[in-house]
Amino acid sequence: MSPAVDVRQVHKHYGSLHALDGVDLRIGQGEFFGLLGPNGAGKTTLINLLAGLALPDGGQLSILGHDVVKQYRDSRRLLGVVPQELVFDPFFTVRETLRLQSGYFGLRRNDAWIDEVMHHLDLTDKADTNMRKLSGGMKRRVLVAQALVHKPPVIVLDEPTAGVDVELRQTMWQFIQRLNRDGHTVLLTTHYLEEAEALCNRIAMLKHGRIVALDSTQNLLNSVVGCRVRLKLAGVLPAALLPQMIEQAGEDYLLELPSYQALEPALAELRMAGVAVQELSLLQPDLEDVFLRVMQVEHEVARPC
């Protein structure tokens, strides 16, 4: 079975900028995959190469086994892309836009599916409204609908929720998750890490055009060793625990322990010092911790060069 997305040793330069520097990536069919990275890391460049909006300087990319350069018609038919920029054709209504997009993909009578997509994205009321008259959020919905008119097996969303209200995010993710359950592969880039954490089963992190982390979301979360404990104490933190303290505000302390096993000795220390624990909460690591750590480590490694 061909991977949904196969990227091998891909390089892309823009002038002196090495936007992608030997990227290797395989995304299996049916995955919900997240591509994360700071601005300028190369996420959109990679998506543009997959979509044929840019051409690679080296390496190969394919969608379900179809090379995006040599077999561009097949690969584009299999791909639905929601671009990052809020673009629209000012001459047409929502329905005309979706019908034209269907036609570009060779679909003649597609109204049943167009109606369904509009329904799921709350666009039905706006079907006959000119694109110019829509709000930003509504235009974004049309962009999502346009990417889905041909029921692409691989859906690419490039920061689809940037500047979008909570309601649309909810409706959109429900619909995309349903498509994912039905077997569509989803590749998502986003700046909202909690979104990636909740939706993606696997994540790659990109920095300076290179993949610096690639694993299942769970493994990435587990890779944050240690745990953080927030304590409210009826007294002063014993000196033995000071090295673990990373924050203090009055009686509230935040400790970082090397592992869960270190929790019991720490509590024993407090008991021996006669300091009562009034409140205790364990903080779960989230993707933001992983993200910051990965980006920072890379930074430190990169510094000597």
């Binding site: 840019a54 584009r76 671009p83 673009v87 570009y104």
Partner: protein, 251 residues
């Protein structure tokens, strides 16, 4: 095939949605030229024996409108969709580069011809040039507008801003049309300018087109046909190569 049909349909639909600007305005412009030039020159010039100046002028103005509008259509549609970013929808679709080329060129030919017919019909009120060889008229109108539409595709791809496109229009298209014999026969020019006119492809398009009306022309229509067809084949090849390479469209 449906991808191509849809893109062609979209381009024609665009023209129709802004018909006031794409169809009506150019007809009005041509009529103003006709009104002024015929009024000033009617008594002074007789280009072909027995042909009034106004009648002589009409085919030139019709062809000028056909050519300018064919160019304006593909170039402005491309630059608008590049600037608004909506060209991405076409670039993401499984449309071959040659389908892209044909759709933009054909839609522009359609606009050129519709404007041409409009100018012709409106001009009949002023004078009625004969229609000696309608097939020649059609042939030159189609080939000429396809040539300018192809040039429009190149200009639309190359330009990044509206003023670059305007430069293309003001410094290439306008001088070549005005120096091509729209308003005069090149035989009325001094020999230096006559010689120079022969390097202007627009001259052959206008002269061949006019032959279809009067059965008379400055040079053989067959020679004009060969020049126009040759230019079209060369430019179309160049444009297709540009599109295939993704120049300025697929970065």
């Amino acid at each position: 095939m449906l991808s191509f049909n849809t893109l062609l349909y979209k381009e024609v639909l665009r023209v129709q949605k802004v018909a006031f600007q794409t169809l009506l305005a150019p007809v009005l412009t041509a009529l103003l030229y006709l009104l002024i030039f015929s009024h000033v020159l009617e008594q002074h010039v007789e280009v072909y024996p027995g042909v009034r100046y106004t009648a002589f002028l009409i085919p030139g103005l019709v062809m000028m409108s056909v050519l300018q509008n064919a160019f304006a259509n593909s170039s402005s549609s491309l630059i608008q969709s590049k600037i608004t970013g909506s060209i991405v929808f076409v670039l993401l679709a499984p449309i071959a580069y040659w389908e892209f080329f044909l759709a933009y060129v054909l839609a522009s030919v359609v606009r050129g011809l519709v404007v041409g017919v409009g100018v012709y019909l409106a001009a009949l009120w002023f004078a009625q040039p004969p229609l000696q060889f309608p097939a020649w008229i059609m042939l030159f109108a189609v080939l000429g507008s396809a040539l300018l539409a192809s040039l429009g595709v190149v200009a639309g791809i190359w330009s990044e801003k509206f003023d670059q496109l305007a430069g293309f229009q003001n410094f290439i298209i306008m001088p070549l049309t005005f120096l091509s014999g729209v308003f005069y026969s090149i035989h009325s020019l001094p020999s230096f300018w006559q010689g120079l006119s022969r390097f202007n492809p627009f001259f052959y398009m206008i002269d061949g087109f006019r032959y279809g009306f009067f059965g008379a022309s400055d040079i053989s229509p067959w020679f004009s046909l060969a020049v126009v067809a040759g230019c079209l084949v060369g430019l179309a090849g160049f444009t297709l190569a540009l599109l295939k390479s993704g120049y300025k469209l697929r970065l």
